[in-house]
Symmetry: D2
Amino acid sequence: GAVPQASAEALEAVVVAPVAAVASKKAKRLVDRETRGEDTLVRVGDVLVGGDGFVVMAGPCSVESADQIRATARAVKDAGAHLLRGGVFKPRTSPYAFQGLGWDGLALLAEAGREVGLPIVTEVMAVEQVQRMALSADLLQVGARNMQNFDLLRALGKVDRPVLLKRGLSSTIDEWLGAAEYILAAGNQQVILCERGIRTFESATRNTLDLSAVPVLHERTHLPVIIDPSHGTGNRRYVAPMSRAARAVGSHGLLIEVHPEPDTALSDADQSIDHAQFAALMAGLSR
Amino acid sequence: GAVPQASAEALEAVVVAPVAAVASKKAKRLVDRETRGEDTLVRVGDVLVGGDGFVVMAGPCSVESADQIRATARAVKDAGAHLLRGGVFKPRTSPYAFQGLGWDGLALLAEAGREVGLPIVTEVMAVEQVQRMALSADLLQVGARNMQNFDLLRALGKVDRPVLLKRGLSSTIDEWLGAAEYILAAGNQQVILCERGIRTFESATRNTLDLSAVPVLHERTHLPVIIDPSHGTGNRRYVAPMSRAARAVGSHGLLIEVHPEPDTALSDADQSIDHAQFAALMAGLSR
Amino acid sequence: GAVPQASAEALEAVVVAPVAAVASKKAKRLVDRETRGEDTLVRVGDVLVGGDGFVVMAGPCSVESADQIRATARAVKDAGAHLLRGGVFKPRTSPYAFQGLGWDGLALLAEAGREVGLPIVTEVMAVEQVQRMALSADLLQVGARNMQNFDLLRALGKVDRPVLLKRGLSSTIDEWLGAAEYILAAGNQQVILCERGIRTFESATRNTLDLSAVPVLHERTHLPVIIDPSHGTGNRRYVAPMSRAARAVGSHGLLIEVHPEPDTALSDADQSIDHAQFAALMAGLSR
Amino acid sequence: GAVPQASAEALEAVVVAPVAAVASKKAKRLVDRETRGEDTLVRVGDVLVGGDGFVVMAGPCSVESADQIRATARAVKDAGAHLLRGGVFKPRTSPYAFQGLGWDGLALLAEAGREVGLPIVTEVMAVEQVQRMALSADLLQVGARNMQNFDLLRALGKVDRPVLLKRGLSSTIDEWLGAAEYILAAGNQQVILCERGIRTFESATRNTLDLSAVPVLHERTHLPVIIDPSHGTGNRRYVAPMSRAARAVGSHGLLIEVHPEPDTALSDADQSIDHAQFAALMAGLSR
């Protein structure tokens, strides 16, 4: 893709970088920039997230069928995406809403990723899912609602898989770093942060995407941070401009909802873009 | 205590009341007032929560020692409290903060409750704790951070113990009812809601206690709702006036943090009141 | 009315109380409790606001006609209200919405107040209205949108009329007191604060009524504070319970929207109560 | 400067464009995109704001002295800024804080602008200042606190000077457009909107800069919108990255606080950048 990843030197660095010593004092946390001066690079399959790179993760909100995920996998790969995303266990406000395809969906997602050669990311919702999901997912996502599910965080600290930690809907940046610390303190240093909008009074957008979190995080932590403009705005027409802004502000990548036919999507229809819109978005980023 | 519980007639009603039929249509939820016209009464030990009653649950944020919990159990019982509360697994923003005494703490809490004759309530943080905790706790609390931990909610829907469901820090009332629906839909109709303050821009109080949630809930649901003015304000000086307001607005009870020596408390020191302050608060309520 | 005002002793106190010395140091403000230990009583006509009293101000959002304001004046007087409220200059989000009857409306309001023997309160929106409005209004209201219209505050600091200062929609308590200080610093010590709900993410109510502001203000300032549950909830069904809570929490009174036929009101129809509902609300308060 | 303004064709368009007909129906507002399809260009001196252009307004929060404003005027001009900003009447939370140099400050600002050949923008706080200020200021700013000071808006609708309307601290986008409508409806079509951050729970930044307001506004209105990253973040270290994001998201320009020695500034010291930082910011924008 036209959007560059981290350099070969950076790859070298992450491979040989010693794991940060296990700290347990309150004053200095493992997540803090003071503890580790250089940027952490997170390796997902053969993709590096962090440093100078800009990585795009794209795919449907929910895996719905083999055809759907294969079509979108091919489309996002062709447009230059670096990872394939897709939800299989869905946290829904109502118990009667579509809850995802579960393990069958994960198999479909993994198969689609293999076909096009993209690592995959999906949300893990419960401690008992962690080990099994780590077998086939390259990156394990913690959703906003689970940001302070501390048992889940501790369990993720003990697996050999990188973690994508979404910001809670009304979590301060400091609480978010505290949640990341649970994972690092349990032994897993490979954590990517993901800003996905905070809850405010404004209703013109689903949430308010807090891009200023990016420079704040660059000061406070060595962990990479990516932006989710799909949840951040809740409106497909705002996804492309906010993606350009996310890149300009210095984030390390994007998480984008893409669907073959957004208006028929089983979840998050309003904020998903179609294949052509995604290709245009990618083209706009590399200008 | 001077503060009345529900009447004997109401007790009769809850014992013989048929369990609401299992509904699974989206339009009508089990939590909705339309589904069930009469108020749900929740039985905790021999205490009834809901209807005309006003029930006070009091005790320390964290169980810290046998002496501490026994002293406070005695004090709150003498002042007229109906339940003993105490945290043993603590959700903390930092992994290095005091995480509670765990199962040993639960044993101390249960013992203290037995001594003074009060049912106990404590927070359950993970699915794997549910069964064991249900053996000794009379009421299982879901904390604000776990309000949308849907696996935990489903697990609580399958035990024969009532549940106290706290409102998420930035959850709308509708999302809160959706979370309760997960419990009811899984088979457990005994749910008490607890308003504990929402996150706003104001920093004079730790959170903004949303007392208007009480009349809103009375319209929308048959479940009882109690108020936590300790977390709601974060300041011990504001606990008593907000308790009086909570009663006046029509809530079904209170959840209050009480500690023998608040300034030495291992958690939530600022918002805990001491034994004398609690006795004064109770006296103020029955006026 | 059954709801008591401040005692005769308190009346004496306010009449003979020396005006607080003009302070101009930053550290100590005239509004601060440290500057003045005893509660300030504000005299509106022959009504005292503050101290132990509980004063109810009621009337329509907008004065619409002579018949309407006379009918409501009579009804609220009979139910025990202490002041008559009515808007004549209306701040509206849209320039095409009903903007109020202006000076003609003020004449109707004043006439209706005289007929039933109630002092009147109405909103002043601009500096150039201050002097003229002070001739016939007993209490000059500053609306939430104008809380930091500093020129207006300074102008109100120079008239011999008490001021009702509403909290801004997203103003902290400290900013609110800073706004009150503009009035006091300009020479007018007769200021009543009015909490009317803050803007939050919750949409079940129009605003979130912050009753915890009452104990916070009692600590920080000697000025009286009243509650506006009509704007605070935006829903007539929640006005009575929140009024009871407002009294229980220790506020000094209420500001309530009452209309002969709320559903036909030209502004704020949803949150206005009718004459019978107001009478019931007053009866509920004196229990 | 390296940052382009609107083209000559666009200039032509604004000069000959007919003033929009005075509409007064509620359904269709003058500000709405439906009412006017093409972008409005606002002319400030010989600078055009809107369309394809990107205009930078820079200068101190407060004019403090002739030396200060002349030095900063020269520095921002040399770095490529298109307008000189400077406050002379300051809305301050406390009546005891520095309130600005007033008319003397305006004379200094105008003189500094003339010397370097930049149009000037400053805040107008009261109706009675409008006419006099319009004599020497090229662009009249309405501050966030006055966004719904409707008398001021109406007065600005009657002068022959463009207006910069800042978003209120907790105003929705729709309320903001309603405020702009007051100006347009009174006859002045030359209005620039300015996003300056909204109030949220997050305290890592002074406000939360809502960049998603830009694509929302592009859909809803034909008026140009610029971004104020100085107030939006409240931290000088975040001003440059958010400026880049503001350009990438499609805004029409920036409003930036620049001071010769920020740490000594009489107001907003934390968020002001110095001359060298501003030059670097401008260089970063044209890359």
